[in-house]
Structure formats: C-alpha cells, structure tokens
Symmetry: none
Subunit: 203 residues, 4 copies
C-alpha cells in the first residue's frame, strides 16, 4: 500500500535526475555562446543555434532567460571552485600553499579565460539586476571561502580583513584575465609568478 508512493517517488526522482542532466547539457551549450558574445549580446536564438537545440526547448527546461543564465553561472561556480579546492587539498604550510594556489589560479586564467570573462560580465550585470544578486553572492562567498582556506593552510590568521584579501586577489585575477584576452595567451609560469608575488606580500 505504501509501495505505490515510493514507486511514484522513485519515478519522479528518476525523472528529475533526467531533467537535471538535460538542463546541464543545455547550460553547457549556452555557456559557449555566452562566453563568446557576452550577456548583453547573446539571445536565446544564438544559444539555440550554437548548440542544436530548438528554441522551445530552452523554455521547456528554463522558465526564462534569467533562469538559464543563473544556471550557467552556477555551473561555473562548481567547476572553478572544485578545481581550486582540489588543487589546494594537498597543500600545507605557507610556501606550499603559495606555490599551489598561484599555479592553480594561473592555470585557470590561461585555460579558462573565457569562462571567467563571462563570470565578471554577469557579476557586473548583478550590480543592476537584482535577479542575479543571489547567485553572485553565493559564488563570491565560496570564493572568499577558498581564500580563507588558503590562508588557514598557510598558517595565516583569519580576521575581518578576509573580504579585502579576497578583493585584492580578485583585482589581480581580473586584471590578468583581461590581459590574457586583449593581448593573447600568456605564459602560465609568468602569470603564476605574479600571484606568487602578491601572496608573498600578503602572507
């Protein structure tokens, strides 16, 4: 008698899981278009055409444009954060953390500049459009968390200036990303060296 509900529930879950897979699939295509054209210049049509999806499907899986973009950004979060966290996992002690963190950030810039560009674009958009605030805040908290993590592992005390430490690093990260985009590929080692310089001072 209580089997039916559980069966239904299971089926609903399977359905949901399937739906999520599809949503992620769509979002990954969307990210490609957004990375290339930017928030203001990417229409749903662009996204539908870049992938091979129907226009209707986008709205079948996402309520509206904003929801899709938010979903895209949250995928960014997952990937970038887990990359850095994984890298930092093995590090311990000031020098090791500096080395590892610098390298991880530098690699991310040379490998995924386009993705970061999109992130900064959406973050700018969030300054004006409240819709994007929650997801942007959520991600920034995670990024601050990463910095906290690194500081801790480096044996550095964490105080109320944590957010500012993050802002410093972020400023440099953004700067190097822009350089990557406007001046072409940079040597990862050199980029890492810049970060190392920062961290030596900060820690």
């Amino acid at each position: 008698m209580n089997e039916m509900p559980s069966k239904l529930k299971a089926r609903a879950e399977r359905k949901n899981a399937k739906r999520d897979v599809k949503k992620r699939q769509i979002a990954e295509s969307a990210i490609l278009a957004l990375q290339e054209l930017g928030y203001a210049n990417t229409s749903l049509r662009d996204i539908a055409e870049k992938s091979d999806m129907s226009l209707g499907m986008l709205h079948y899986y996402f309520e509206d444009r904003s929801e899709l973009i938010i979903y895209c950004v949250s995928i960014y979060k997952q990937q970038f954060v887990s990359n850095i966290v994984d890298a930092l996992a093995g590090a311990e002690g000031r020098d090791s953390v500096i080395e590892t963190f610098s390298n991880a950030l530098a690699e991310s810039i040379t490998d995924d500049a386009m993705t970061h560009r999109l992130w900064y674009d959406i973050r700018s958009q969030a300054m004006f459009d409240e819709t994007f605030r929650p997801i942007v805040h959520e991600i920034e908290e995670m990024l601050v968390g990463i910095v906290a993590d690194a500081l801790e592992k480096a044996g550095h005390p964490i105080d109320e200036t944590l957010a500012i430490q993050y802002a410093l690093i972020d400023g440099v990260f953004l700067h190097l990303m822009q350089r990557q985009i406007s001046d072409g590929p940079q040597d990862t080692a050199e980029v890492a060296a810049v970060f190392r310089g920062i961290f030596e001072k900060l820690l």
Copy 2:
C-alpha cells in the same frame, strides 16, 4: 580683407562650442539613466524620457548609441581623474600621500558609487565589444598613471609591477563600491581606513 574668414571661423567655433555644451548636457542626462539601469538595460528611449529630450535629438548629436555611451564614459574619466589628481596635488611624503589618497578614494566611493558602477559595467562590456576598448584602455591608462603619481610622491620606486599595484587597488575599490551599493551607505572614514591598510602594506 582677411576679416571675413576669421569671422566665419569664429562663428564656426562658437557653434562647435555650443554643440559641445549640448553634447555634454545630453551625456549628463544619459549618465543618470545609465547609472540607474546599466548598459544592457538602458535604451535610448529611456534616456530620452528620463531627461526631457526627444528621441531624435539624441541621434542629432550622437551618431549612434555607442558614440553616446563612449562620450558618457569619457566624462566619467575627466571628472574622476581630475578629482583624484587635485586631491593628490598637495600631498608629499609617504604618510601624507597615504592619508590623502585613501580619503579621496573613499569619498569617491561614498559620493559617486553609481558612477563607478557604470564604469565597471562598461569595462565589462568592453571585454566583449571592441567598440568600447579604446576608451576603456585610455581611461585605465590614466588610472594607472594616478597610481604611479601617488607612488612617486610617496617616495616609492616605480617598476614593472605598477599595473599590478593598480589592479590590487582596483580590486579593493570595486569591492567597496559593490558593498556600498548592496549594503547601503558606508562611513567614509571606515572606507578610508581600509584603503589606508592596503597602502601601508604596499608602500
């Protein structure tokens, strides 16, 4: 005999000057709209309505939307840069520079957060839209120049890390501006204190 040309020239100049005044007038109205709605969400209609201009007039003075926006951004440049430069003018010596620079930046954040928000928005847009690159580059060079100026006056050597120094400060500036916007007005003194903290470390 050569009076006529000079008269004509004078009249043409007066006309041009008048035109420039008008352009600036329009741009100032446009900035208000852009500050409020952001690049992606501000249509020329919005601008025309917010001020009391006709749609046609915008196109009479500006070739297209991009030209208007670029003009707006360049006004930002003039105002912000001259503000800071003026402030720094009287400073000399490490402590004086730190004090003055910190206060000037903090005041700009608490007074003109909206203007800076627009600047960061356009700068993001420039990552995707080449149209805005030149003006953005031009402004950033001036901003780097200001940092160079401050460093010099503080008796700090200027080396190849200048751009990074700028990026560090910019990261914090952006962070504090965002905080101003999302959490409401901050105490200028506190904001200045944050900058002072940074400069103490940097110099």
Copy 3:
C-alpha cells in the same frame, strides 16, 4: 535500419514544403500591398496590416524586406511566363503566333495590369539597387526567351537583334499597361489589335 534517416528526411521535406507554402501565401499578400502602394511606399507594417499577419511573421519567413520583395517578384515571373508559354504552346505558323501572342499579351494587360506595374517598379528600382539586379535579369532573360520562342514558331530567323525585338515589344507593353492604369479599363480586343499591328511589322 535505414528507415530512420529516410523518415527524418521525409519529415524535413514535409516541413520545408510547408514552409514554402507559407512563404508563397505571405508573398501573395505582400504582392497585393505592393501592387497598390509601390515599392517605395510599402512598409512591412503595411503588408502585415493589409493581410492579417503579425509583423514578426514576415521576418520569421523572410530574412529582410529585400528577400520578401525578391520572392514576390519571382512569383510574378512564374505566373506571367507560364501563362504566355502555355498560350503559345498550341500556336504554329506566322499568323497563328501573331494572333495567339497578341491575345495573350492583351489579356495579361487587361487582367493583371497591377502586377505588371509592380514589375516595372521593381525593375526601375534595380537600376539603383544591386540587390534586385539578379532577379530582374533572370526574369528579363525569360521574357526574351519567350520572344525568341514566338519568333521561332512564326518561322522568323533569330539573330543578334533579339534583345531589341524584346525591347520594342516591352516598350509597347509598358505603354499599354500605363494607359490601362491611368485611363481605366481598355477593350482587350483593341489592345490585342495594337500588338497585332506591331507583330505584322516585325515579322
């Protein structure tokens, strides 16, 4: 196993066919508006309103205004040319050709003056706008072809003056069409008589 592709292909074809039907439908509505107002005075809004289509639909089926107009003109071609060709099909020998051709042209003038007016309008436009040149050339070649056909069937030799023969007939055709429009309906028999007079001289 190879059924799926063929099924898909079939569906794609059905879809394409449907699209073509719709395009033709739209074009026929558009022709009505264009016939009435002329190329320079017919906006897409006019077309949308005259029929009961949404403005968006016009752009859904046609890339832009030019493509729609070109499509309209090419429909003209199909109809007019096939009418005349059909009429000439049964004719053989000088007198029979003169009789048949004259009647066919005269009927076309009295029945479809508006359509021809549009054709001459677009042809004029093509003198200035290269976009319309290809379709206009294509149609004129077919019209010259019809004249060649008629001459041949009438046992008349075809030489390098063919294009001029066409020009002569076209001049008269245009003249009679204009007369039809400015002075009101003419007697088909009288119009045919004029053509007969021309052909008697030409052949």
Copy 4:
C-alpha cells in the same frame, strides 16, 4: 500714383527671377544626388550634403520633397527636349531625319544615361503616386511631340498610332540606357546604328 504698383511689381519680378535662379541651382544639385541614389533612396539630407546647402534652405525654396523632385524632373524635360529639338532642327527628308535622330538619341544615352535613369525612376513612381502624374504626362507629351516632329520631317504620315510609335522607340531607348548602366559605356555609333535599324523599319 500708378507708379508705385509698377515699381512694386518690378521688384517682385526681380525677386521672383532671383528666386527661380536659386531654385534651379538647388535642383541641379538635387539631380546629382537623385541620379546616383534614385528616388526611393535619396533623402533631403543626402541632397543637402551632396551640394553644400542647409537642410532648411531646401524647404525654404520648395514646399516639400515632392515639389523639389517635380522641379528636378521638369529641368530634365527642358534639357533633353531642347537637345533633341535642336538636333532635329536642321534635318529634312527621310534619310537625314533618321541619321540625325538616331545620333541625337544615341549621344544622349552615352552622355546622360544617369539622367535618363532618374527619369524612368520617377515615371515608375508616378504609376503609384499621383503627385508625379501631371509632370510625367507633360513630359511624355513633349516626347511624343518630338516623335511627331521627326515623322513629319521624314515625310511620314501621322496617325493614331503615333503614341505607339513613341512607345516602341521608348522601349528601345530604355533598353539601351539600361545596357549602358549595367554593362558600362557603349560605342555611340553602335547605339546609333540600333536606332537607325528601328527607324528604317518604322518609316
């Protein structure tokens, strides 16, 4: 007592004459723009810029766009008609007329193709826009008159087919003009030969 009126009248006339000179001046500039771009694509702004006139002046001398264009077309009439009439003035007898008329038409095509293109453009426009009908009719009557003149001088009887004779010639004239424009400059002698061929048959 009646001196004043006559003085006033004289002054008014002088004024009018001056005004006419200016109108013609403007029209000649306008024709250049219209020849290049065509009726549908030439704005008053284009005309003002191509010459060095102010936009306001166009409306100071001409009620509206249509009046200006009509004025332009009537200038066409004067020039073309008087050219041909002058040429025909000295001709007498069938052969002389054929020779003279053919040459005059051919020269006009190779020299003034652009002007004729504009004429045909406006004539097309007149099919839809009644505003242009009167001037177009007026000009066409003069052109028919020229043909009548030529026929007469060639000793050919003039009957009710006169208009058709004109239409035949006009068809060829239009054809050769289009050829001149799309295929580039033609040899005047060859063009004249074509006309001669027509006239030999017609007369």
